[in-house]
Symmetry: C2
């Protein structure tokens, strides 16, 4: 079984940990990672979503916060602050810095991000094939009103610095239109037996991946079940502030609205949480097979709940396939 | 009193700490720093000699080893090794990494090394004006026989990795011929009241600075006393392996031979250690005023011995001036 997963950061990574437990030994998992939240900090290329997947599946993640490295120290960051060099709002630890140093050095030497990611994964052995959505630079910007002026800020500035405390008026994956899928992305989709959208942010994670020309089309034309898991449970995001960026694209923060946002042209099946069981008929009416199962990853470290979710997604895929 | 000092790393930095104590409050000290041992590591620009001066005078040095930061940790280095990324023989600590990250970021933004150094010194407040000898890249290479073959290795590879364990057949400051003195270097020399060569390595520290076209000439023509302190005491280097690189340029490892290597065309006065008092007549015969004083910096942290050495150098300058 060849599984393709479009993943953002924490939600995607924790789901993948469960998925690895749920699949047979001969299954292969290809993860197409979001790079729209990549950012250059201190002259270094930081890829938060790729790293969260890599660290989580490779056993290096800070489990409590869901991102960054375990056993982390912050000497470099303290020193940068002593030099007056910011931003201070982005929490890069010393161990994490090493990843960005290696990545930046390899990029400067001419390697594309996909090759760099493969090299980093040699160490982490995530048990999946992790490919960035594109080797080209895509940077998600968010339009906000600050000090009475409409400004575009980097997604990380919106998410981490402002903590989504102001309304997002637009979310734009800058550069996406010109970006090409990274080598292997379209091939993996074409050869997939099932394609999964984990409970990642539908706008700035999965949405950004779909914004790279060719990826959405390839998924729609793959002819295999495309199954998503709702990142909204009971009309609130499971984690993060997904409601803020959903509002920016005119989508209500509900399990049903997100399914309809993806649409039946893309999505074949959708899992909602049991508390949202009442929306199943509405989603099925929209042409998307829907089941209600527990969607809270209550034990992220063990991944048992995520594994159950993954099994439910694969079962729904089987239902779609044989329908 | 305007003092110009040509400085390498540890020896120069410790001498400067003494010099600061020895001079009147209204004296200004301009340090022209060697950049020939600069090296790119992990995609970052590392300037060991500039940093040693900056950290030593700014109170951030690891006093025991004489280079690197105090209270240092090595998380980044450990992680780089876990990625299989070397070299492992160069001991960059986490705090030190921050300096190189800031420097590299500023250089990439287009600032010349002299401006970057000034910016870094804003934090460290070394109490001297520290200028790199050149904004252009100069890299000291050493010709050695390795595995039966003559090869050129970076000075740091010779010094730190090989620990000068093999003979140096040649020492070449690659790029020096095309390099221009950094802004302020020639002006500082022209306006100096006295020019000092601290007990730094005469080949790979002071010698490299003098190899930048225009600097040697400016010093010779400044018309002010040029006073040096012998880095060799009793026919052995005070520290380091200066004898190895002296041999490469055909100079004996002795206080007298180093003075003659600089020559009376450049040097007006020379301080040797009291154990070398017997060479004073030979050096004076060569047209260089010479005095024997204690030259061992026995209390580098306090700098009392270095301050005495600095006072002796300034006194010798006065003798030269009034001769």
């Amino acid at each position: 079984m060849r599984i393709v997963v479009l993943a953002g950061g924490i939600g995607g990574a924790r789901f993948l940990r469960g998925l690895k437990q749920a699949v047979p030994d001969d299954a292969t998992i290809t993860v197409i990672g979001n790079t729209g939240d990549d950012i250059h900090l201190f002259g270094l290329k930081v890829c938060p979503d790729l790293d969260t997947v890599m660290y989580t599946l490779g056993g290096g993640i800070n489990e409590e916060q869901g991102w960054g490295r375990t056993d982390e120290s912050f000497a470099v960051k303290e020193e940068l602050a002593a030099y007056g060099v910011g931003p201070e709002w982005f929490g890069l630890g010393d161990r994490d810095f090493a990843t960005h140093i290696v990545r930046t050095q390899m990029l400067a030497a001419g390697y594309p991000l996909s090759a760099v990611t493969q090299a980093l994964c040699k160490r982490w052995q995530p048990g999946v094939r992790l490919i960035p959505m594109s080797d080209d630079r895509v940077e998600t910007h968010v339009a906000v009103d600050l000090d009475g002026e409409r400004r575009a800020v980097h997604f990380q500035e919106y998410w981490v610095k402002l903590r989504a405390s102001v309304d997002a008026h637009a979310v734009v994956p800058v550069g996406a239109e010109q970006a090409k899928p990274a080598p292997g992305v379209l091939e993996a989709i074409a050869e997939a037996d099932v394609i999964l959208f984990p409970p990642s942010n539908p706008v700035v994670s999965v949405g950004t991946i779909l914004a790279v020309p060719g990826i959405r089309e390839a998924i729609a034309e793959a002819g295999v079940p495309v199954i998503g898991l709702s990142p909204i449970v009971g009309d609130a995001p499971v984690r993060g502030m997904a409601d803020k960026v959903l509002a920016a694209v005119g989508v209500e923060s509900s399990a049903a609205a997100v399914a309809e946002h993806y649409g039946s042209g893309l999505l074949d099946g959708w899992l909602v949480d049991t508390v949202d069981a009442d929306v199943v008929p509405r989603i099925e009416e929209a042409g998307i097979k829907c089941r209600a199962v527990p969607l809270m990853m209550t034990d992220p470290e063990e991944g048992t709940a995520a594994a159950e979710m993954a099994r439910a997604a694969l079962a729904l895929a089987e239902e779609v396939r044989t329908a």
